[in-house]
């Protein structure tokens, strides 16, 4: 059963790879611009495992270090966004006065794309990690705060009453009922947030710092190493997928009661 599902899942990617390879071999695309899959694989291999002695490529053996830079920035920005977005979302959803004071500002700032903040970030924070952290944090913050707010507002009135008649004070109501009930929404926000964080880290590293996958991507493009560009794209995709899986697994553990609900 799972073998069959795996076969179905792999059919389309394999077909696309064959098509890609064919397009390069048959010269359907302009020669020398798009590298063939094998070329990308070879470049990627050297990028990961190469040493200064085995290869003259300046990228040789630098993959892990760049992945580490980007991952660290994503984690930092994402944690910052979660640490601010979740509590703020809870307060906006819970307290009408806070909502009136804060929500309009968030809704007005939210449509400004993260890319539009770049000059501002560099002007304020310079070509440093702080710029990247700001852009990633800001990008991930919106989906987290908005989804948390929605989750909190959707808390069932009956459960609030149940908690109160059992003697729960405001803090117990907030932590044992409102937060728990909003948790599925919060996880949705976190998953969307980590996606935005990977988008933001590439943009930030292209312009605002001098290391990481985004920096390599732009640099490789400049020197005409399209094979490295494509390998970078796959790398980012892979990291984005893995980080999403981490959050998904965490949510399955934290929301075990909900899985039962869906089956029952």
């Amino acid at each position: 059963m799972t073998v069959r599902r795996l076969a179905w899942a792999l059919a389309l990617p394999i077909a696309l790879f064959v098509l890609w390879d064919l397009a390069v071999r048959q010269r359907w695309v302009v020669e020398g611009i798009i590298p063939a899959p094998a070329q990308v694989a070879a470049a990627w291999y050297t990028w990961i495992f190469g040493t200064a002695t085995t290869s003259l490529s300046p990228y040789s053996g630098t993959w892990l270090a760049n992945v580490a830079h980007s991952t660290r920035r994503v984690i930092e920005g994402f944690l910052l966004a979660a640490a601010l977005g979740i509590p703020l979302g809870v307060f906006i959803g819970w307290n009408r006065a806070v909502a009136r004071a804060v929500d309009p500002s968030i809704q007005m700032l939210r449509p400004i794309p993260i890319t539009a903040w770049l000059p501002f970030a560099i002007a304020v924070f310079g070509i440093y990690d702080a710029s990247a952290r700001f852009l990633i944090g800001l990008g991930a913050f919106y989906p987290i705060v908005v989804n948390t707010t929605h989750g909190v507002r959707d808390t069932n009135l009956l459960l609030l009453r149940a908690a109160r008649m059992l003697g729960a004070g405001p803090a117990a109501v907030l932590f044992k009922v409102v937060f728990r009930s909003a948790l599925p929404s919060i996880f949705t926000g976190l998953r969307l947030g980590i996606g935005v964080a990977w988008t933001a880290v590439i943009v930030a590293e292209m312009i605002a710092v001098k290391s990481g996958l985004g920096y390599v991507l732009w640099d490789a493009y400049y020197v005409g190493r399209m094979d490295i560009c494509v390998a970078t794209m796959f790398s980012v995709g892979l990291l984005g997928f893995l980080s999403d899986q981490v959050i998904l697994r965490a949510s399955r553990v934290a929301l075990r009661w909900r899985a039962l609900e869906a089956h029952g």
Partner: protein
């Protein structure tokens, strides 16, 4: 001594989307200590509104709601509620749901653990401690809903059609369970229902409400012997009382204001 629960000229109006809804209108009601009082009325007549005001979830627009002679200000474990939809915390196991009240109030585990043990046996929940509400049937959910308030040893137990959404078989089982528990504990109960037989089986008094806006039309004493069981529903006295209540409820069927009144069969 003041009645356990007293409503004096209580009215409740809601403003919903600019429209005024008078849910209940000048309710007068007194429930004595250890009385099992049933409130009977068609759906939409304001029964839940009445109970919510005693619970402290809603405030009356006019009049006074008194418990032990004191005006009701806010919800309190001394006036515990069993809801129709059970309203268990879905993220907590059966055990954690029952322990919610004592834990939230900071009661030491050594104090409430023995009471949980007793309740698990009495309510037939043994073996389900680690289950989540989603894994329970409607009847089992209501057992948990009852257990989590009984552990608080409330002076007044408020029940809002607690068995209304159960199938007939399960409902009978739950009614007998409630009878057993109550006849042992003797506490004040305000029990909302639209089921005549249920009211007669369980209660000491039945107060009949009119269709919305709800008022209390009549109150009859149920002089059936205790301890009761389902057998009592076949006795001639039970049927006399049932006929009287049926007639009282039917009068409302012809009231044009009664949008949801039960049809005469």
């Amino acid at each position: 001594m003041a009645p356990a629960v007293e409503l004096r000229g209580v009215a409740k109006e809601f403003a919903a989307r600019g429209r005024h809804v008078v849910a209940v209108e000048s309710i007068d009601l007194a429930v004595a200590h250890n009385e099992f009082a049933a409130i009977l009325g068609p759906s939409g007549c304001g029964k839940s509104t009445l109970l919510n005001m005693v619970a402290g979830f809603e405030r009356p627009t006019r009049g006074q709601v008194l418990v032990e002679g004191e005006p009701v200000q806010a919800p309190h474990p001394g006036r515990a509620v069993v809801f129709q939809e059970a309203a268990l915390f879905p993220w907590y196991t059966v055990l954690d749901n029952i322990a919610f009240g004592p834990r939230t109030r900071g009661t030491p585990a050594a104090q409430y653990r023995p009471r949980i043990d007793t309740l698990l046996d009495v309510m037939g929940l043994r073996g389900f401690e680690r289950h989540y509400p989603a894994e329970l049937s409607g009847g089992m959910k209501q057992r948990v809903g009852l257990a989590r308030v009984l552990i608080m040893e409330p002076a007044v137990l408020l029940m809002d059609e607690p068995f209304g959404s159960l199938d007939a078989q399960t409902r009978s089982v739950m009614q007998e369970l409630l009878l057993t528990v109550w006849e042992r504990r003797q506490q004040t109960v305000l029990f909302i229902t639209h089921d005549i037989e249920e009211a007669l089986l369980l209660a000491d008094t039945v107060s009949v409400m009119t269709a919305r806006p709800g008022r209390i039309k009549t109150r009859i004493a149920v002089d059936l012997p205790r301890p009761r069981s389902l057998e009592v529903t076949t006795s001639p006295r039970f049927n006399d009382l049932k006929r009287r209540l049926l007639a009282l409820v039917r009068e409302d069927t012809f009231n044009p204001g009664a949008d949801h009144a039960p049809r005469a069969r």
